[in-house]
């Protein structure tokens, strides 16, 4: 055992039977299971844990609760780990942060000598003039400042999420929280009790509530026992509630899991955070909160120093002195900031041990040891006014200074949900002014109940009230305890003693001194929020947990305003830093696969995303992409090809008003569409812009089977449901996209292939003409067949039940083998349809394209009284067009433009190329582009600007490019 370890019963969180090793800065330190990195280091006398953000000053722990950035350390894959609370990790070398050279001798600490030249607001003043110089300075500054280093190649570990449900959530497992949980549970509530420590108890586990120092531990043991026996209290320890959102939505992180907790009511019992004293060199390693020393002693069995001074403004400081004595630390004196001696039994007990008490004195300076890596002693002086001492200091040698000058409520969660903290001048304390919503209640120290019995009584009341707010039948209202019992006398009104030579830190995270805040005020930033943004005070990793209170005192009084009723800057979630890995969790990204998906993979398909689906782009090696696509195109043009079009949206529109409904949703006319025929559908939105397209197959008088685009169908279905909620037509709308799998069998030999698999439908060109729709069987499977022409060849779309899609595919590939069948993908289909001049919604149209611009005027039934978009299209059609979509060709050998390259006329942009492909069938490159209306006549040449600025000329040609009379698809 190292010389700093204390015997049992100290160290309730460590297991002395399990020795482990902490590796820190390349050295091994003995530790026990249950140690944190900080406790293990302090147990070996290593006090310096990191270097400060700006001046690279050596820093040790202040709070033992990571309430400041002093103890942030670097793991190999994770920066800024909180050493105070992080368990000793196995097998990795923990490094300190913010130094060059070694932690002990940091070459960058010379920056501190430059500090007179680095005033607050320095960045704004120095580096932005002349214009443009910031980008040079930025690299240097970023290299010198900053916290840990991000490993861009760090392994992404497994993290997940789970939902939790409770009647009552209790945040904070101290005396008040445990009591609240018990009373809510007694009223029948399902309770979840959340605490960020490994063991329930809060201050009961480390603070001294009676002179003998027994009550805390005894009470904690009793409450834990009752909670364990209650049955309806779920306890989450080592868990942090990081925010409080609408309707009691509480994120709780525990290890690699993020819980999303929904509670009917919430008890906030998060306790209070001890606050620092401001004086010169108040950041030296060895200066810490009294509660930090108590945590080290009781929780980890670590002796925090050998010779201590306690500076206090409340009775808790005397309790700390008793704890230090019990731990074998020599207490060289108590410095009491108050004017009058304390009458508390703790003070009497300290006096009885013969310890000198310096009443109405303050520590005005910390005396550093070598390299400022330790505390050598303190200068104390008599207080003569607010923040002023007599100027006749005398020194007490010590290696530990414990300060107990006040608290601030851990009310961050209250603020997250719209509550507020305000300053109460009588108590010199921030107090909860209002709670968010109507289903929350605060109890214990967060609610300024500092007296233990009052905290318990508040817990009882809060538990009862929370159960009632959760809608449970509860018994008689318990007595409501007096508010803020024991709060008076906890906080010193002004524990700030500026020093002419500075280093009197207000904010340890950002190395901000008293003068920095005063300078910000002097520069005219006299509002608290402006001070924050100008000076960066409270903006560091601890988000003001240790600095907001003193800063508001200094800035509010400095600006000449009243402290009474003043508020702090807004605290926002998260309460503690969170890992993106944990926020991301396991990650759910739905992927839709067609029934033929695995057949595509077996054929060597290169898959591409299409919305949430995966589709084959083409089949075969990526290295032969162009050849593979060309071969697929050739197969369709010359023999037969098969493409999986299962991802198409599919809708059943059924009922007496089915045709009327389509008339309203789409631009064409459907009332007289014959049964057994399909018709193009074009959907426009309320502004007249093209929204989607597909075909409508009339299966019977009251039944249309309608296709939609792969990525558009969900929006189409929603729009249909939305409109019919208003129109109330007698029609049923069903999205059956996944229920049907579909293929397009296309090419001159497609009829021969299909004939082998279909016996109950006459496939003859007259019996089953182009645009015909038939129902029957294909390969023994119930099928809907439609003759389509998207790729410009004889072709059949075959729709079958999803579970039998793979069987259909197999049968077609088998029977097509003798005819040279080839599976083709999206890329070949794009070429094939472009040769036919067919547009793709979303590629050849944009969010503003209305039908006439895209040469789709033929798809509009002008005589209909109404369709969505009609009114807007009528307005647009009456005006001159501003652009037109045309087909164009490029001479062989031209560098091809890319899709989205601009069409220009001089300096003016007139449109863009929307589709382009080299067509083997045509022996030239063809494309679609928007041009000016007067450029739309066939034969017109127009300019296309390539990515490198070169201008090439395209020539407008009529579409379709291929088989202009459509003979091939109508065979």
């Amino acid at each position: 055992m190292s010389s700093h370890r204390l015997p049992q019963p100290h160290g309730i969180l460590i297991d002395r039977s399990k020795s482990i090793t902490l590796r820190f800065e390349g050295r091994d330190y003995p530790a026990f299971q249950g140690d944190t990195i900080t406790s293990a280091l302090l147990a070996s006398g290593q006090r310096v844990i990191s270097r400060s953000f700006k001046y690279h000053r050596p820093r040790g722990t202040l709070s033992m609760m990571a309430q400041e950035a002093n103890s942030l350390v670097q793991f190999p894959g994770e920066p800024s780990v909180r050493a105070d609370t992080a368990a000793v990790p196995a097998g990795i070398d923990v490094r300190a942060q913010n130094y060059l050279g070694s932690l002990g001798r940091d070459w960058l600490s010379v920056i501190e000598w430059l500090s007179p030249f680095l005033p607050v607001g320095f960045y704004y003043k120095a580096f932005y003039k002349p214009k443009g110089v910031w980008k040079y300075w930025e690299r240097l500054i970023r290299a010198l400042a900053g916290l840990g280093r991000i490993d861009e190649h760090a392994h992404h570990g497994y993290a997940d999420k789970a939902y939790l449900f409770a009647d009552v959530a209790v945040i904070g497992g101290g005396a008040a929280g445990m009591q609240a949980a018990l009373d809510a549970a007694a009223a029948g509530a399902e309770v979840i009790l959340i605490d960020d420590q490994p063991r329930l108890g809060g201050a009961l586990n480390y603070a001294r509530f009676d002179v003998e120092g027994r009550r805390g531990a005894r009470l904690a043991e009793e409450l834990r026992g009752r909670i364990g026996a209650a049955g309806n209290i779920q306890v989450l320890t080592d868990a942090t509630c990081t925010g409080w959102f609408a309707d009691n939505w509480l994120p709780v992180t525990q290890g690699q899991r993020l819980y999303k907790l929904r509670a009917k009511s919430v008890v906030i019992a998060a306790g209070a955070l001890e606050q620092p004293t401001v004086f010169r060199n108040n950041d030296l390693p060895g200066i810490m909160y009294g509660s930090a020393a108590q945590r080290l002693i009781r929780l980890y069995g670590v002796k925090p120093g050998h010779r201590a001074v306690v500076a206090t403004a409340n009775d808790a400081g005397y309790a700390v002195a008793l704890d230090l004595i019990e731990a074998g630390v020599t207490v060289a004196g108590v410095v009491d900031l108050r004017a009058e001696p304390s009458a508390s039994p703790f003070a009497s007990a300290v006096a009885a041990r013969g310890i000198a008490v310096h009443q109405r004195h303050a520590v005005c300076e910390g005396i550093p040891g070598p390299g400022k890596r330790s505390l050598f002693g303190v200068e104390i002086d008599a207080i003569t006014g607010r923040g002023v001492t007599a100027g006749r200091p005398h020194r007490i040698e010590c290696d530990l200074l414990c300060t107990s000058v006040g608290y601030t409520p851990a009310g961050h969660l209250v603020c997250h949900s719209g509550g507020q903290l305000v300053y109460d001048s009588d108590l010199s304390m921030l107090v909860i002014d209002r709670l968010p919503g109507s289903t929350a209640i605060a109890a214990g120290a967060v609610n300024a109940a500092f007296e233990l019995d009052a905290a318990l009584a508040e817990g009882t009341y809060a538990g009862w009230r929370a159960a009632q707010l959760a809608g449970l039948g509860v018994g008689a209202e318990p007595p409501r305890p007096a508010a803020r019992a024991g709060a008076a006398g906890q906080n010193h009104p002004w524990p700030i003693f500026p020093h002419p030579k500075g280093r009197d830190f207000i904010d340890f995270d950002e190395d901000l001194q008293v003068k920095d805040i005063l300078n910000a005020l002097a520069d005219g930033y006299d509002d608290l929020d402006l001070v924050k943004r100008y000076s960066t005070v409270v903006m560091g990793p601890s988000q003001g947990r240790h600095s907001a209170l003193n800063n508001m005192r200094l800035a509010t009084v400095g600006a000449g305003r009243e402290l009474q009723g003043a508020t702090v800057t807004t605290q926002r979630p998260p309460f503690q830093p969170e890992l993106l890995e944990v926020l991301g969790g396991r990650g759910f990204q739905p992927t839709r696969l067609t029934a033929m998906h695995h057949r595509h993979l077996e054929l060597g398909a290169q898959m591409m995303p299409a919305g949430v689906w995966l589709r084959p782009a083409y089949y075969g090696a990526e290295s032969r992409r162009a050849e593979n696509i060309a071969a697929e195109v050739r197969a369709v043009r010359e023999n037969v090809g098969l493409i999986d079009v299962s991802t198409l949206g599919k809708l059943e529109i059924r009922g007496p008003d089915a045709a009327e409904f389509l008339n309203r949703m789409y631009t064409f006319a459907y009332a007289k569409q014959p049964v057994g025929r399909s018709r193009y559908v074009l959907m426009t939105d309320g502004t007249g812009a093209i929204a989607d397209d597909g075909v409508a197959c009339r299966m019977n008088e009251q039944h249309f089977y309608v296709t939609a685009t792969t990525s558009g169908v969900d929006a189409v279905y929603r729009a249909m449901m939305r409109w019919n909620a208003e129109w109330r037509l007698n029609v049923d709308i069903a999205n059956v996209t996944a229920a049907f799998q579909a293929v397009n069998l296309a090419g001159p030999k497609s009829r021969e292939v299909l004939a082998k698999l279909v016996s109950d439908i006459d496939l003859g060109s007259e019996a089953f003409p182009y645009m015909g729709v038939r129902e029957g069987h294909a390969a023994g499977v119930p099928a809907r067949l439609m003759r389509v022409g998207f790729v410009g060849e004889l072709g059949y779309e075959i729709h079958v039940p999803a579970s039998q899609g793979e069987h259909l595919w197999d049968a077609l590939m088998r029977e097509g083998a003798a005819h040279g069948i080839r599976a083709f993908g999206v890329e070949a289909q794009r070429v094939l349809r472009l040769e036919k001049g067919h547009i793709i919604i979303g590629q050849d149209t944009d969010g503003l394209t209305f039908p006439q611009e895209a040469e789709m005027g033929w798809a509009i039934a002008a005589s209909k009284p109404f369709y969505v978009g009609k009114r807007a299209i009528d307005v647009q059609a009456a005006r001159p067009l501003t652009r037109r979509l045309v087909g164009f060709a490029l001479p062989a050998g031209t560098t091809l433009p890319e899709e989205c390259h601009l069409t220009v006329r001089g300096e003016e942009i007139v449109g863009r190329v929307t589709s382009i492909a080299m067509s083997a069938s045509l022996g030239k490159a063809v494309g679609l582009a928007y041009v000016a209306p007067d450029q739309a006549e066939p034969g017109t040449r127009f300019d296309i600007k390539l990515g490198n600025g070169t201008i090439i000329q395209g020539e407008v040609v009529p579409v379709p490019f291929y088989d202009p009379e459509n003979k091939r698809q109508e065979m």
Binding site: A246, G686, Y717, L729, F866
Partner: protein, 91 residues
């Protein structure tokens, strides 16, 4: 995360819902261009309680919510049939 009460599915996380815009009466298609443009393009952006279309995504169920845009409080939700209970005709 807020809770919204779906008239068909009960209280759910608001992430299950899709906002569908303010409830506004479609003018007669014979209305002036100006009036139609107002309907298509202009949201009233009212401060206070507004009536909005909302859809429960897992069931594609559209309903009406009255929501206070100032406080984000959802005052009431109810089936669209309360407002639209007869067939709309276009002549």
């Amino acid at each position: 995360m807020k809770i919204m009460n779906c008239p068909m599915n009960g209280p759910r996380n608001v992430s299950e819902f899709v906002w569908g815009g303010e409830v506004r009466e479609m003018p007669d298609p014979a209305a002036s261009d100006h009036e139609w443009a107002e309907y298509v393009f202009i949201e009233n952006n009212t401060k206070g309680v507004v009536r909005e279309w909302w859809m429960h995504a897992p069931t594609s169920y559209w309903f009406i919510a009255e929501r206070n845009t100032e406080t984000d409080e959802i005052v009431r939700t109810y089936p669209a049939t309360e407002l639209y209970n007869s067939r709309r005709e276009f002549k």
